[in-house]
């Protein structure tokens, strides 16, 4: 039903977002648009060019990662 939120798991924590939202919408809502990131849904990497076309479903597990200092 339009207007209701769904619950996903984002970087290991519960996260609500509008039903029908795409990965692109998610990234924008987090203020991360334009950042160097990689995304995966249920441990499957989704290339950037498919973010807008990838709609999230309830209980999807999303990982949003970046590069940080490490050995």
């Amino acid at each position: 039903m339009p207007g209701t939120d769904i619950d996903i798991e984002l970087n290991g924590a519960a996260h609500a977002l509008p039903d029908g939202a795409s990965l692109h919408d998610l990234v924008a809502s987090l203020g991360l648009a334009g950042q160097a990131l990689a995304l995966a849904v249920n441990r499957s990497v989704v290339p950037r060019e498919r973010w807008a076309a990838t709609t999230l479903a309830p209980r999807d597990k999303v990982d949003v990662v970046r590069a940080i200092g490490g050995g």
């Binding site: 996260h15 203020g31 991360l32 950042q35 990131l37 990662v65 970046r66 490490g70 050995g71």
Partner: protein
């Protein structure tokens, strides 16, 4: 150094990994620095071409305008080598590198490490072999952190890893090369580049690795945890070069006996 001396230097083949060449045989990590400015300065002083990075979840809610590691050490200037630090299973390591490949626009050169336990950070070799097989099949160019076991190193090479990276000693321990004999065995048999990775503590460790015939050295703590990281980075660059030159020069033989450097004839 004057021009005449520079021209006298014998030509050395550049470091070649997965069909690509690099000027520098010193590879560095990007962790444990005070801040990104120090990361940038030390990496520049090291004159490294390849720098490792870790892949981690974004901290949701953190300031999105916070400076980014890749601004301090840009991919336009360095070859960014994603690692699988903190991975204890082949599955996690493979997943991490799939994310890394996407993050870095399709780059396939990666560093694989699968750890066995948190206390020693020693590699779990069975899991490492499993991960290496999957990654090589998936088209990655795998540089692999491994134990200094010549059999394991050969297996990794046969799986198709593009470089083997035996530890000198425990990650972050600074203990230097504990078993130069094993390292020599690995170097002797390897048909891919061998780079010492883990445990380097100071310049002489890096020089020794190169004297033994390593193709390169990867280090992080040795530089980042020095009192003066930028100075140590410079020392390491010189050490890697000195060790390489000594290796190419062919050292004198060791004997458990004296041999005078001055002639005996004509003494007063």
């Amino acid at each position: 150094m004057n021009q005449a001396m520079r021209q006298d230097r014998p030509i050395d083949k550049p470091l070649s990994i997965a069909g690509k060449t690099y000027r520098s045989r010193l590879l560095v990590g990007s962790g444990k620095y005070r801040d990104l400015d120090q990361t940038r300065a030390a990496t520049e002083a090291a004159e490294a071409d390849i720098i490792t990075v870790a892949i981690r979840r974004v901290n949701i809610g953190q300031d999105p305008n916070a400076p980014n590691l890749l601004d301090a050490v840009p991919p336009s200037r360095y070859t960014i080598l994603p690692n699988t630090a903190g991975c204890y299973t082949a599955q996690d390591a493979v997943y991490t590198l799939q994310l890394a490949r996407e993050l870095l626009g399709g780059h396939t050169l990666v560093k694989l490490e699968v750890l066995g336990d948190e206390r020693t950070l020693f590699p779990n070799m069975p899991e490492t072999l499993r991960a290496a097989e999957t990654l090589v099949r998936d088209g990655f160019d795998v540089m692999v952190y491994c134990s200094d076991d010549p059999i394991q190193a050969k297996m990794l090479e046969e799986i198709g890893c593009v470089a083997v990276m035996p530890l000198a000693s425990l990650i972050g321990s600074g203990m230097g090369i504990l078993n130069p004999w094993n390292l020599s065995l690995i170097i002797e048999q390897a048909k891919v580049p061998v780079l010492v990775d883990a445990g380097v503590g100071t310049a002489s460790d890096a020089a020794l690795a190169m004297e033994l015939g390593c193709d390169g050295v990867l280090m992080n703590s040795a530089i980042a945890l020095a009192q003066d990281p930028v100075r140590m980075a410079r020392a390491m660059r010189l050490a890697v070069e000195a060790g390489r030159e000594a290796y190419l020069a062919g050292r004198m033989a060791r004997r458990f006996a004296a041999s005078p450097s001055s002639p005996m004839a004509g003494r007063v």
